[in-house]
């Protein structure tokens, strides 16, 4: 039943994003499923919150029926417009085989480990899955919230992961946490699918496959997804990456659907964790800057920019007020002074963790938690022009820097000891940013690779399809007209 719930999540997510995602260039069935899963998890968790605020009890019927009705309506009245892309099987090339082999090795190290160990890690139990279990057993959010002061943990965190776990429990009929913690590996798949999608859209199959397997081999990203299964870090990464990627696509092509998807995924990030709220603010700032700079007054854009955050953030703000949820701990003046004085060392610690390997273990081997992701991103910033990209490329490094700045800000203003906080969470937080940094580097490489392949007379990118060649200029023409108006 739980497996059906995961499949249902993909269907629900596809129903939500198919109006925008369906016509995106280079979309394949696998990437559509991956992106739909992240969207579906967000939509279903939000649905549970809204049902709870409306005092409608959570049952399989009340939770599933709106989606079944929507799917039926799409089927009968949508003229198959919601049908996902069909898979086209091709013979893999040598780099794809190498990428698949490496990904297979990585997954064979992590998937059995995740399945073998029961739910055990600290934050998964204290912060995320505990709430999911409590909501399920109570059939509501209210009883846990009214007792939140009894528990260690932060009741003010957004509820995507807990409520999605509740959804899985409702579907399975018991609080089966060993199955529910599969949500992190599934979101890891979603992250990889999103990453592959953007590289395939702007690059060749070889580059997309190789860099996606490189992402899969990032040690800390794997740790967050498999060892810390049940945490929210992979969920944030799976929302932040498409948010940044679609914003870049909008900057590059100016298509409204990319803009809508960027705002949608950034709003999901805000509904997942506090870092996601910071990301939404950064993405919103960049979007507003571009809309104003290009004098785009089309109401669709402004409405979307407001609607996404209102839809995903406002219900939780309302619920927090209804249930009187407060953040635990208060920042004392002395602690703030101490933390601000150590801002420099905090920034240094962030750079140390991002750019250098972890200290040697008992056997003397040093592990690169992020491999060469962040150095590659810096290199990309210096080389993007030579690779044929223009200044719109800056969207991705800017968002990565914004998130790094946000991390340092959170640490300095946090109500707990700085060193403890850095030691316990910095690597996990950097694992949320690493996919964007790697995407920046990968896009520069993809651009260089495309140019070299083009010299050999081989078309490579997802942009190159005839359908897309017709559509992109048409939409930009329309947009230019609207801008003038």
């Amino acid at each position: 039943m739980m497996i059906c719930a995961f499949l249902f999540t993909c269907v629900a997510g596809w129903l939500v994003i198919c109006p925008w995602l369906r016509r995106r260039p280079a979309l394949s069935l696998a990437t559509a499923i991956g992106l739909s899963f992240a969207a579906g998890a967000a939509a279903l968790s939000l649905e549970l919150l809204l049902l709870n605020l409306a005092r409608i009890p959570w049952t399989r019927f009340s939770v599933l029926s709106p989606w079944i009705a929507a799917a039926a309506a799409h089927t009968f009245f949508g003229r198959r417009l919601w049908a996902p892309p069909m898979p086209r099987l091709r013979r893999p090339c040598l780099p794809e085989i190498a990428a698949l082999a490496f990904s297979g090795i990585v997954l064979s190290a992590w998937v059995p480990y995740e399945r073998l160990l029961p739910l055990n890690e600290w934050d998964a139990i204290m912060l995320w899955m505990f709430k999911g279990k409590a909501f399920y057993l109570d059939g509501s959010i209210a009883p846990y919230m009214s007792r939140a002061h009894e528990f260690l943990g932060n009741p003010a965190y957004p509820l995507l992961v807990p409520l999605y776990a509740t959804f899985l429990y409702i579907c399975s009929g018991s609080a089966a946490d060993q199955l529910a913690k599969l949500l992190s590996p599934c979101l890891f798949g979603s992250l990889a699918a999103g990453f592959y999608y953007f590289l395939r859209r702007y690059g060749s199959r070889s580059v997309a496959a190789i860099f996606t397997s490189m992402l899969a081999g990032l040690y800390m990203v794997d740790v967050a997804a498999f060892r810390y299964a049940g945490y929210a870090d992979t969920a944030v990464a799976a929302a932040i990456l498409p948010g940044a990627g679609f914003l870049y696509a909008w900057f590059r092509e100016g298509d409204y659907a990319d803009f809508a998807l960027a705002v949608f995924f950034a709003s999901i990030a805000a509904w997942t964790k506090n870092e996601g709220q910071f990301f939404l603010a950064g993405l919103g700032g960049l979007a507003v800057a571009r809309l104003l700079w290009q004098r785009i007054w089309d109401r669709r854009y402004w409405f979307t920019l407001a609607a996404g955050p209102v839809l995903f953030v406002a219900p939780w703000v309302a619920a927090r007020n209804v249930y009187g949820v407060k953040r635990p701990g208060e920042l004392s003046g002395e602690m703030m002074r101490t933390n601000i004085a150590s801002y420099g060392p905090t920034v240094k610690a962030i750079f140390d963790h991002a750019f250098t390997p972890a200290p040697p273990d008992a056997l003397g081997s040093r592990i690169w938690l992020f491999n060469l992701t962040f150095p590659l991103c810096v290199l990309a910033v210096f080389l993007y022009r030579r690779a044929g990209l223009d200044q719109r490329f800056w969207v991705l490094p800017a968002l990565a820097c914004w998130q790094l700045f946000g991390v340092s800000l959170v640490y300095v203003t946090g109500p707990v000891n700085l060193q403890w906080m850095i030691g316990s969470s910095l690597d996990r937080v950097l694992s949320q940013i690493a996919p964007i940094a790697l995407l920046a580097g990968a896009l520069v490489f993809a651009s260089y690779y495309n140019a070299a392949e083009a010299r050999l007379g081989i078309p490579v990118t997802g942009e190159a399809s005839p359908r897309n060649r017709e559509r992109v200029p048409a939409s930009s023409k329309k947009q230019r007209g609207k801008s003038r108006a």
């Binding site: 139990i125 260690l152 491999n371 690779y449 083009a454 010299r455």
Partner: protein
């Protein structure tokens, strides 16, 4: 007549690059493919220590947990919290409150608090490393002694008066007794 665009600008457009005559040597023409494989190779080399550590970790846990049921695995990984919580679950009803007097280190008090909250919800769980601790409206009292290995890792630093504890327990009804745990029902 305006100035001709600089060559670097021309190069930014891949379509223009396409028009460039392909007179370069074979290795130069395929350098990008070699570069892709080189980047990948370097990446794999850097990733390998982490992967081999993970394989070793997997092997370790396989030896300890493979072939066991989920309950048994949880009892091993989360020793002794999981088995203690299961015993409490059998004795204490869901709506009740239970006060743990825990003979364990200070950090472990927080650890067991989160574990017992998780496993025993919706029961109300109070925990203290103090034999004199009180909790209003708690119908059950549990005396929990941590495993020796955990105490060796973090010694007990609370208040533990065995004589006073025995005096306190004398008037209570013992409902469960096990290796790490005794549970008492507080009669009103």
């Amino acid at each position: 007549m305006g100035r001709a665009p600089r060559r670097s600008r021309l190069n930014k457009d891949p379509a223009m690059n396409q028009a460039e005559p392909a007179r370069r040597s074979l290795p130069a023409r395929y350098a990008h493919r070699a570069a892709l494989l080189a980047v990948f190779g370097v990446w794999v080399i850097f990733a390998w220590p982490g992967l081999s550590l993970q394989f070793a970790t997997l092997d370790y846990w396989r030896q300890r947990l493979a072939g066991r049921s989920l309950e048994e695995r949880a009892a091993i990984v989360d020793y002794p919290a999981y088995s203690v919580a299961r015993q409490v679950e059998e004795v204490v009803p869901p709506a009740a409150c239970i006060l743990f007097l825990a003979y364990t280190g200070p950090e472990h008090v927080n650890y067991y608090k989160t574990r017992f909250d998780y496993y025993l919800y919706p029961r109300r769980v109070r925990i203290a490393a103090n034999t004199g601790a009180q909790a209003a409206n708690c119908g059950y009292l549990a005396v929990f002694r941590d495993a020796p290995a955990n105490l060796a890792e973090e010694p007990f630093r609370g208040v533990w008066d065995e004589g006073r504890l025995q005096h306190r327990l004398a008037s209570l009804e013992k409902v469960y007794s096990g290796p790490n745990l005794d549970i008492y029902h507080i009669r009103r």
